[in-house]
Amino acid sequence: MRYMVMHYQTQEMEDGVVPSPEQQVAIGEYMREASLSGVLLGGEGVHGSSKGARVEVTDGSVRVIDGPFAEGKELIGGFAILDVSSLEEAVEHARKFALIVGTHRVDVRQVVEFADLA
């Protein structure tokens, strides 16, 4: 089963503060360990919202808003796709990652696959 693990960004991330060298090493180690355990299929971090945009649709009319957005802590800071055999397993990987990346929240969601649609 695939899970998307999304971490929320901190105010520092939103402000464009680059992770400390120590933290970068720790994140790199985590990514490597997750690759070595065969569960990490891929993942990326994203920049603060000042470099992004939002597309809002209300009753069919579309509005495009440029970043930054006010509620920085409610924004996704990055994601990883894990292939594991249970939600519990995904949670344990997410727990490790949350502590290393220094986020206040990580969401773990199952990826919809063809078999789920049938």
């Binding site: 070595l36 065969g38 055999s85 490790k96």
Partner: protein
């Protein structure tokens, strides 16, 4: 948190953390049995402590620290004289002035690779290797391994005990083989992984769900191996092959549970994620510019099918060329028969039949129903309907399962209509 919830989390942590712990402890104490025992002791300590105090914020770190403490304690106790660690500890931890941190913080990739090499040691029988690798490297429990192989739990338990005894008796150390042995041992490891995969993929008996599980365990092992040996084209090839084959799992089973052949599959049901991963791996193999081995070639063939949006768009010329390469590196009658199919599609049925003709006299294929089945298919295309009918009937008489028999009878009947 309830005791049940704590126990459930610990069971999951075993799966996630035990391979890393056992790999690291193995380097520290030298032998597999002690490493596994120490890992189990670590989790026993966790159960006692966490049932009372709850799960710590960082259980992985807790387990690492505790296992390290237990290992050092064990090594020190060797002085009591009764500990079998006396010799191994002397040559590992003690020799380096008890620099435990240096050993424990050594390269995790090497430790994991050492664990995989040990589990797949050539001294062990193939079924022992696959049981051991699933247990130690994938972190499955003995009942889970038993369920995956549809084998009684007691049989699997015995198999694992015997395997560990064999390794201990031969004094097989927990370490990476030398460079000269590395390639040979990697071949053995890949063989075990593909064996596990096929056990799930080509299963003819049992609960389908369980077998899909086995495919995913093999896939996970393959991903580990590819991460551990990122510049080895055959490891990447094995992984590419499994990613692409797994992408078809949902499409290869009909509503009634029967197998749907590759060219008849609904390609919209192929998993695009896995195909993408497989094709990326093929690109990485090409970039390495080595001589393609059997897994890389099979992966390249699988990739040709994966790239075709419809069966009609299949690049048979390329597949035939890849099969030419494959019979060079792994000459076998079955591969030759597959080559006949590809050549028949690429260059016409007659060309395919030329390859089939000498195979008919081989004892190895005398009772292989796919030989007359392939011959019949090529003859049918070539307009040789009477010969085709005879071959299909022969294939029906040799087929092992009712589904195949019925298909062959049906095709024989179609030929009879043509030749009438």
């Amino acid at each position: 948190m309830s005791t049940a919830a704590v126990d459930a989390t610990i069971a999951t942590l075993w799966r996630v953390e035990s391979p890393r712990l056992i790999a690291r402890l193995g380097r520290l104490v030298g032998d597999l049995d002690t490493a596994e025992e120490l890992a189990q002791d670590t989790f026993t300590a966790a159960i006692e402590k966490w049932r009372a105090d709850g799960i710590p914020d960082n259980p992985a770190a807790w387990l690492t620290t505790t296992s390290r403490y237990l290992a050092i304690d064990r090594i020190r106790r060797r002085d009591t004289g009764r500990d079998k660690l006396r010799t191994v500890a002397a040559t590992t931890a003690e020799a380096s002035g008890m620099d435990v941190d240096r050993i424990v913080d050594g390269d995790l990739a090497d430790d994991l690779l050492g664990l995989i090499f040990m589990s797949c040691h050539p001294l062990l029988a193939p079924d022992a290797r696959s049981a051991l690798v699933l247990k130690l490297v994938c972190g499955l429990t003995t009942p889970e391994v038993a369920r995956a192989f549809l084998t009684p739990e007691s049989t699997v338990a015995q198999r694992i005990v015997r395997a560990k005894r064999t390794l201990a008796a031969a004094n097989i150390r927990f370490e990476l083989p030398g460079m000269d042995q590395r390639a040979e041992r990697l071949d053995a490891v890949r063989e075990v992984i593909y064996l596990v995969f096929n056990e799930g993929y080509a299963a003819s008996t049992g609960d389908a769900w369980v077998r899909t599980d086995l495919c995913h365990e093999a896939l996970r092992l393959g991903r580990m191996l590819a991460a551990l040996t990122p510049r080895d084209p055959e490891s990447l090839g094995l992984l590419a092959l499994m990613e692409i084959q797994t992408s078809r799992l949902a499409a290869r089973m009909g509503a009634d549970g029967s197998a749907v052949l590759l060219l008849d599959q609904d390609r919209s049901r192929w998993d695009p994620w896995l195909i993408r991963r497989g094709l990326d791996l093929i690109d990485r193999i090409d970039a390495l510019r080595g001589t393609a081995g059997p897994y890389a070639l099979q992966a390249a063939i699988a990739a040709c099918h994966a790239r075709a949006a419809t069966a009609g768009e299949t690049d048979w010329l390329r597949i035939a060329a890849l099969y030419d390469g494959l019979v060079q590196v792994v000459p076998s009658p079955v591969v030759e028969l597959n080559r006949a199919v590809a050549v028949g599609r690429a260059f016409g049925a007659e060309a395919g039949l030329e390859i089939v003709a000498p195979l008919r006299s081989l004892p190895a294929l005398a009772s292989y129903h796919l030989l007359p089945a392939v011959a019949g298919d090529l003859e049918c295309t070539a307009g040789l309907h009477e010969q085709a009918r005879d071959d299909f009937l022969r294939a029906a008489s040799l087929a092992g399962n009712a589904q195949d028999r019925a298909t062959m009878h049906k095709r024989a009947a179609e030929c009879a209509v043509h030749s009438a």
